[in-house]
Symmetry: C2
Amino acid sequence: MPDLFVGVDVGGTSVKCALASADGHILREGSIPTESHEGPEAVLDRIAAFVQSLSDEVGRKPAAVGMGLPGLVDPHLGYTRYLPNLTTHWRDVPAADLLSKKLHCDVHLLNDARTATYGELIFGRGKSVNTMVFMAIGTGIGGGLVIDGKLRLGPLGAAGELGHQTIDPTGPLCGCGNHGCLETLASGTALAAEGIRLMLVGMAPALHDAVDGDPGKVTVEIMGQVADQDEPVRQAITHAGFYLAIGVSNMVVAVHPELVVIGGGVANLGELLLRPMREDIRARVGRLFPVDGIAIETSQLGSKAGVMGAIALASRGLPT
Amino acid sequence: MPDLFVGVDVGGTSVKCALASADGHILREGSIPTESHEGPEAVLDRIAAFVQSLSDEVGRKPAAVGMGLPGLVDPHLGYTRYLPNLTTHWRDVPAADLLSKKLHCDVHLLNDARTATYGELIFGRGKSVNTMVFMAIGTGIGGGLVIDGKLRLGPLGAAGELGHQTIDPTGPLCGCGNHGCLETLASGTALAAEGIRLMLVGMAPALHDAVDGDPGKVTVEIMGQVADQDEPVRQAITHAGFYLAIGVSNMVVAVHPELVVIGGGVANLGELLLRPMREDIRARVGRLFPVDGIAIETSQLGSKAGVMGAIALASRGLPT
């Protein structure tokens, strides 16, 4: 019987878990609410209990756990350093050790966007790829770089923070304290806020109808659905694509990847976002060197990239 | 007797050559004018004759040649693709083969900034370094990335074009056709142009005295000399440092290097440029992760980085 591995993807609102073999075949999966206000010990307790219940169903003990977490995580020491989207911020929590003691197996931690990159590398579009840029575009923008077939982590697991490139030094204030980071201009949050603005000034009647005029209901997904009726909404998506193209192009001139993968919720916009992005990237970089060999695609694993990356982390350990 | 290697560094105005052993000990060096209007064959003929005369002096035949060239160079095929600063642009010239036939030994080509990065990696500050960002700031801004001890080239030798990151989408027009590339905001050319502007509007009296009011004589070097008298000139240098700090920070968040090396003529400004840059980089990136371990230094090899990199290229071949 092949070994059983656990992938855990911790988000601000929910925690996804999956039990799978090393080749990514999923036996059980599910999710629980994060409830991060309870603090790390309680959250890890509930994760352990949920993993236990899933493995009881399968009737086998997991060999190792991989866990992606939103924020700065030291993957080499297994500590969370700062998770801004979880209520208590998990500063310097030895989360790998804590969970390991509860589940009696090895636990590996990694930043969630790097975990998703690992998933896409091992089980998704990156399978036979040498050099890949991954961008996870959702609430913020995370990322990961694969160079010479290896996910690049850096000494603190912080390499790949592609959403915190400065694209416009006079741009909007970022949560990190700088101005004009890519994620202030083109994250799902930024795009939804622009949709709300368009709706409030009366430029997006179809969007207004779709959400009953409620700003709290505006999402990127709904914006995508009304884009063929509300031309300004379509333009807002293209404009986000323009900034994303700059952020991607900056990475393309730096590492010249063969593959760029766009993941996260915003990737569900599909060709509506990708077509103008591809054109922009090819026009920008094409002035410097030929770009025919660079594929620009949405994530193959979609919303499962994180949990599949955590399976890769559990079964293969950190990239070396 | 150890093998003899030739390093050639081709610039817009002059070609530097050096004969050295594999450990970088230089036996002969010198330079000739480029005279690129004569076309590639004639330029390569004169380079070959000059190398021949230097090796005749030493009384030994070189084992291999490395050559850095300004622009897009395919190092794997040994072709120049487009050298914008040389008069005839050297489109698709098999320069490695041509020079090899003249000198009867192997010839390796590489973009000049990547060559300088290689020099700094093998013989300079990068000697025992794992991950390094190199920026050559002169007429334009070139660069190179060393990741896991290896100079990153990409399939066309074009990876590392760090001067063509977009830093301000509404910024000045770049030679590449895009707007607000880092080199439009912080190259030696951009900095000198700002010095000229300050002089012409009467805000840089010491600079005016130093160059007899002649815009054609304004250089970054002279600006550095008058910066303690002309406060606006000092501010112009700090402002270029602000943009350079953004460009470096974008690479730091992407690859988290242990060393950033600033080379090219502008690096001669030394601490006048580096002090504000270091502060900016640490403030920017420090909001995301600890940066204590990242050294930010000027090139150890200075103007010899290119020719020493070409020696590394001759003696070690392309990084694999």
